[in-house]
Symmetry: C2
Subunit: 435 residues, 2 copies
């Protein structure tokens, strides 16, 4: 007996053979996909979903977020970067408690579910609260607290606050390889720390078998200052210090050189490309087409909503494709399928979940989304891949399922109580913005 | 007695003083706004809309579309421009009848209503069918058939097919200045015609008091070929031939020079900026920040959905702002308010409706939209202008009202029968794509 059978759907599987099945059936049991294809399974199903007129695809993976910044959405736009950070973002962040971050992350996860995202890689602070929010939110989450320190003399890895939080979360939350919530190790960025710190955290990641998450060459000045200071690019100096010796996600990479790309490829680093944020903060446009040419894996992220201002990964999919076409004057670059691949397969690998999510294949988790295409704005569907990459926006997602459970369907949440979460935000917002 | 009173809404008026009223009231009678402000009107209202937690703004104006291309959404993506046009788009367009275009335009208008657009400027063909679709669709529409001819010897303005259609629509559909459906005169582009044709159509526009709509310097090759042929840019040579002597909308302007901008400003031409289409077709990025600096009015358009692939003007608003920040490395450029202004006030002027639509002001048409912000993805609203420019996507629009009538609300249409329209599309799609 199947738990769920999705019937008559067009399935964009994102599998190794790039199968796209029309009028397909997806069987689901115990949270896993048991079958995807054109033949109706013999087994009966407890629940049948009629997928007529719908597209199914693997749920999206957001490889770079600061979800709790949902509290600051639209709070400080159109400022120069340092003014934005120092006069607006940092003072508010300084007032955030673990409890604030917990509720803000639940709120952000509700947005992600409603826009087709099933997994995210989040760098922020108050790690135990982040972990609890990830457990309660229902999405796959790789969470980390970005280590930073400006004073090598006063620094001690053993007594560092991040180390303590990492150990706590590692013990209480980090599970087996297929765990839904995982701890990543994070170094905030090259320019906010120094070689001793990099080496310590890289070693910790290696010892514990954890992924690494870091901001890399986001802005021109940060990139150039590193070259002036060390005589090497951020990518080169961090690689030398072992930061990419475990599976790593490097966010932004707007200013990486071709030599940097060779290193990223050799170290099998996944680049988390955040095109909306990079434009909005005026960091520039990452050379993503060149990265693909060089064989570097590129996934997608939204960054925090303070520099976005939403968690709609479909927007990043479309913009990632269009930007490379536009700035390279070649409409054939970054075709639709590749943009979807970035948001699914590349993201799954970045999180260490390439055997769990990112494709609709028997044996993988039943973590998928449905999009109803029988409405103005999406119909007709000449090519399901084009529709998903270029026409769909997050709000078009009808249903989001994680491990066989429907967590969102047509405006309704099953699991998260969004009214309650929003009520919890009232006093938090009042306190942090009226301090 | 008011027809409608919207209560407790946050109103982003886009008026001359840039008023934004929280907890505001909007009174509506006989299709017009009678009041916008913080004081509850004394008059009772037949219908009351509770705007608590909602943003109100003027409906959006799409200043460059080919709405009937909704039939070809996603049909031919990621091709080089000439292959896209010659091998894919033109053969399908050659099979379109007036009836096909009628139903396709109704379908496109349904999408526009659901994403907050109330007015559009459309260049296509089969003008009488376009006019009927515009009348039946319920939106404001400036429609035109782009004149083109490659053979000056065989050309005669009097017997040209476009002239005949222009005269038919002028007589049957074009009304007074405040008419909902208006005829524009259109020359397709500089490179698809010649000075004799430009002069004739420009004179016709002037005689009849009609606006002009044209594609201008969309691609680098078209711009450079013109300079090689005439020793002048498209803007300069068209201006010399009188094309901008009536109110004109010039679509794209990706490759205009600073001298061109001076001409556009002097002639009071509105540029229809189509950032999504320009990236997707790899035409480039229009120098919009520079245009503003030079005093050129810039409005927004989606272009046809074959090069977009939707009619979501909120996507253009955000991308227009972000692109200029990103490519000019200045996050302060093109702030949120300016992006909204492009999609409202600038568009209203382009259409010759600057006294009708584009702002929430007493005496203007009650043609507005509401966005519910009490949901994940939009809450909290620190700054309503930021929320509208950077967080909202078309699907977040809750209600679209034109001349006091609700035409769309929360997925339901009042006026358009979308199920019937979609059924009409089945045989059309079958015929034109299986020929």
């Amino acid at each position: 007996m199947l738990d769920t059978l999705i019937k008559h759907v067009t399935a964009v599987t994102m599998d190794d053979e790039q199968h796209i099945y029309t009028n397909a059936f997806i069987g689901i049991k115990d949270g896993k996909i048991t079958y995807v294809g054109k033949i109706e399974p013999d087994e009966a199903a407890e629940k049948v979903i009629d997928g007529t007129g719908m597209l199914a695809m693997p749920g999206l993976v957001n490889t770079h977020s600061h979800a709790a910044m949902a509290l600051m959405r639209g709070y400080a736009d159109d400022y120069a970067l340092q003014e934005w950070l120092n006069d607006h973002v940092f003072p508010v962040e300084g007032r955030l408690t673990g409890r604030d971050i917990y509720w803000a992350m639940l709120w952000a996860q509700a947005e992600m579910l409603a826009t087709g995202t099933i997994a995210y890689t989040d760098m922020y602070m108050q790690l135990p609260s982040m972990a609890q929010a990830a457990v309660d939110g229902g999405l796959y989450a790789n969470i980390s607290n970005g280590a930073m320190c400006f004073n090598p003399d006063g620094y001690n890895f053993e007594t560092d606050g991040v180390t303590a939080q990492n150990l706590e979360v590692l013990e209480k939350f980090h599970g087996a390889d297929d765990s839904r919530v995982k701890l990543d190790v994070s170094i905030h960025a090259e320019y906010t720390s120094f070689p001793g710190l990099w080496q310590d955290f890289a070693r910790f990641a290696k010892e514990k078998g954890l992924n690494m998450h870091i901001h890399l060459s986001e802005t021109r000045s940060e990139h150039e200052n590193c070259v002036a200071k060390y005589g090497k690019t951020p990518t080169a100096i961090l690689a030398e210090n072992g930061v990419f010796d475990t599976r790593a996600t490097a966010a932004h990479c707007v200013w990486v050189t071709e030599e940097d790309m060779e290193i990223l490829k050799e170290k099998n680093v996944t680049v988390a490309h955040n095109p909306v944020s990079n434009l909005k903060l005026a960091s520039g446009i990452a050379p993503v087409a060149k990265m693909f040419e060089k064989g570097v894996r590129v996934a997608l992220g939204t960054d925090g909503v303070c520099s976005n201002n939403n968690h709609d990964l479909f927007e990043e999919i479309k913009l990632a494709a269009l930007l490379q076409k536009g700035v390279n004057y070649d409409p054939r670059l970054m075709p639709a399928y590749r943009a979807l691949w970035m948001a699914t397969r590349a993201g799954a690998f970045a999180q260490g979940r390439e055997n769990q999510i990112g494709q609709l294949t028997a044996g993988f988790d039943a973590s998928l989304i449905l999009v109803d295409t029988e409405k103005p704005g999406l119909y007709p569907v000449h090519n399901p891949v084009s529709t998903l990459a270029y026409s769909v926006r997050g709000g078009d997602v009808s249903l989001t399922m994680i491990r066989g459970k429907v967590l969102y369907e047509n405006g309704k949440y099953y699991g998260l109580d969004v009214e309650k979460i929003r009520e919890k935000l009232f006093p938090i917002l009042h306190r942090i913005f009226n301090a």
